[in-house]
Amino acid sequence: MNIVVCVKYVPDAQADRTFSPDDNTTDRENVDGLLSELDEYPVEEALKLADATDGKVIVLTVGPEDATDAARKALQMGAHEAVHVQDDAIHGSDALATSKVLAAAIAKLEYDLILTGMASTDGSMGVVPAMLAERLGLPQITLASELTIEGGKAVIRRDNDASTEIIEASLPAVVSVTDQINEPRYPSFKGIMAAKKKPLQTWSLEDLGLTADEVGSAAAWTTVTSVAERPARTAGQVVTDEGDGGAKLVEFLAGAKLV
């Protein structure tokens, strides 16, 4: 079974997030980046499925030059091949355009299953999997906390607050997985060394038959018009209970429109 896993390269959440002043896009150049933590889960799931079926895992990332790091990390974890779509024109793409690029790249690959994370850790819209399935004309099942492949079908479990759903779709399908599905492995030294010899291809828009005007900020349906840092937290208000503590609390909560 061939599994394509979409992985995103995101700024390290431990470092300060900055935005480029010119176009309000996330600054991905001056910050250390990494494989989005939530995308380690689909990689792990793909590796387990591939192990069980003697299959192949191909990771796909769309992003700037350094996004190779995300692909490399997945290769170190055990993925077999990687594709990195890189083109300056892609900078500033919104979710629609990103899904277009991903779909065009996937169309060039052989696959039985496409796995994604539940959301990226930076944009975190969680819409790319759905858009991707739509563009590829494939069934999508989202937010899987369990995934099995049975007789040409993908079967997932989705845990809601009130219920647990079992959902199936015929293959090929797009499946997004949550952080409950497994415990991602970390790369071992053997994995790190093996990754150096694994194929990592870089594709441009041209390779995908796309043109610059279909992607990037110019083609975006949405624009981030401004970004502002959340104001620093101010000191809390201490309520001293002089018999009327309860009333004061309610007053505070009501004042903040919390009740």
């Binding site: 470092a15 170190q76 970390y186 790369p187 030294f189 053997k190 150096k196």
Partner: protein
């Protein structure tokens, strides 16, 4: 992941590493932070390691055990990568780095360098995978800095060897499957790979330590322990054998100590900024800034020395007096950094809720083992003057 903690990497040390080295460092850091760091303070407090064999197996899966050796299932990585591994492990706890040093640089290295082919194939792959644990017995109750007078003896008996004696302060001793034992023979000091299951071999854990509490230290007793000929190291005679192994492990200590220092420095830095007294952060007082600046300076210098020694080791030009420079400087300065960090944390500095006093206490052992401060001072003195001041 910010590998070298931008907050304390004023000098831009991160730039000295290549991508492969960063990948190795990141892998160890990820494993150590997720699998060991959350538990180690508790192990330290209880003076034990929960499931040490499970831990060894996980370290084996990662690939750190004997990582700088080649063949026999070892990863064959560089000295720099081994150093970075020690740095990240000891940033979590010196006891964990000790476990790995003893397994990889003392026990495995001794077998790999000096052992018979039978011994190598029997032990090395299992030790690299973490399925077997090794220890290294040189020190005795009455012979520490001067092991030449050791009283453990091995005598030939037909084609076998029979060993009698005792070893003291042996890391991993009680959990080891194989012990590298150095003993007097009629042909001088020789080394043996002794399966710990051999009748007459026993290990008792040493209690009451206030340092390296998340590390197992044992006393070994050998009473008519009989091993076959293939267990003796064929070529090596005299103290050169064990001293070569110690130089290997010591190189890891040069790096590891800086890991403990890094953790204490960054903990103290964060604490000083967050903690306010007299209406301002304690980091805002000149006295605190003096401490932080001195800690930073020694950290950067120690890292540069470690890096330099690693590049020499990779180039094959590292001499043992150079390792002494690193061991003496880096452990001494790391300990000073940890002690200063402790003062910055005030009362919290003595609590196991913070890593500082644990690292500080651990480094007291590291200061003594692998050659005491005094021994390395004399090594350096001799290298400079040509005069031996040991006796």
């Amino acid at each position: 992941m910010d590998l070298n903690d931008a907050a304390v990497d004023l000098a831009g040390l991160d730039e000295l590493l290549n991508d492969d080295e960063r990948d190795v460092q990141r892998a160890v850091r990820t494993m150590a932070q997720s699998r060991i760091a959350p538990y180690v303070a508790d192990w330290f407090e209880r003076g034990t390691v929960d499931d040490p064999r499970g831990l060894v197996r996980e370290l084996g899966e990662l690939g750190v055990l004997g990582m700088h050796l080649t063949g026999y299932g070892c990863a064959g990585l560089s000295a720099t990568e081994y150093g970075l591994t020690c740095l990240e492990l000891e940033a979590v706890d010196s006891g964990i780095r000790s476990l790995v040093s003893v397994q990889g640089s003392l026990a495995m290295y001794a077998l790999w360098r000096f052992g018979s082919e039978e011994v190598k194939t029997q032990w090395l792959p299992a030790m690299a995978a973490g399925d077997a644990v090794g220890c290294f017995g040189l020190t005795e109750p009455d012979h520490g800095s001067d092991p030449s007078g050791m009283t453990t003896r091995a005598r030939r008996d037909g084609s076998d060897w029979v060993i009698n004696g005792g070893k003291m302060w042996i890391t991993n001793g009680s959990i080891a499957d194989v012990a590298v034992i150095w003993a007097q023979t009629d042909e001088g000091i020789r080394g043996f790979a002794v399966p710990t299951s051999t009748p007459g071999f026993s290990a008792v854990e040493i209690r009451h330590k206030l340092s390296l509490r998340a590390s197992i230290t044992s006393e070994l007793t050998m009473d008519e322990v009989r091993v076959p000929e293939e267990c003796v190291f064929p070529e090596v005679r005299g103290l050169g054998g064990p001293l070569t192994c110690l130089a290997e492990a010591r190189f890891g200590v040069v790096w590891g100590a800086m890991g403990a220092a890094r953790t204490c420095l960054s903990t103290a830095l964060r604490y000083a900024v967050e903690r306010s007294q007299f209406g301002r952060p304690v980091a805002g007082f000149q006295l605190t800034q003096q401490k932080l600046a001195d800690m930073e300076l020694e950290y950067v210098k120690g890292m540069l020395l470690a890096m330099h020694l690693a590049r020499r080791k990779d180039a094959g030009t590292l001499r043992s007096a150079q390792v002494s420079l690193g061991k003496l400087n880096n452990v001494r300065e790391a300990l000073e950094i940890c002690r200063t960090a402790r003062t910055i944390l005030g009362a919290n500095g003595i609590s196991l809720e913070y890593p500082v006093i644990r690292h500080m206490n651990n480094l007291e052992s590291v200061l003594t083992y692998e050659g005491t401060v005094e021994m390395h001072t004399l090594v350096i003195g001799k290298a400079l003057t040509g005069i031996d001041a040991f006796r």
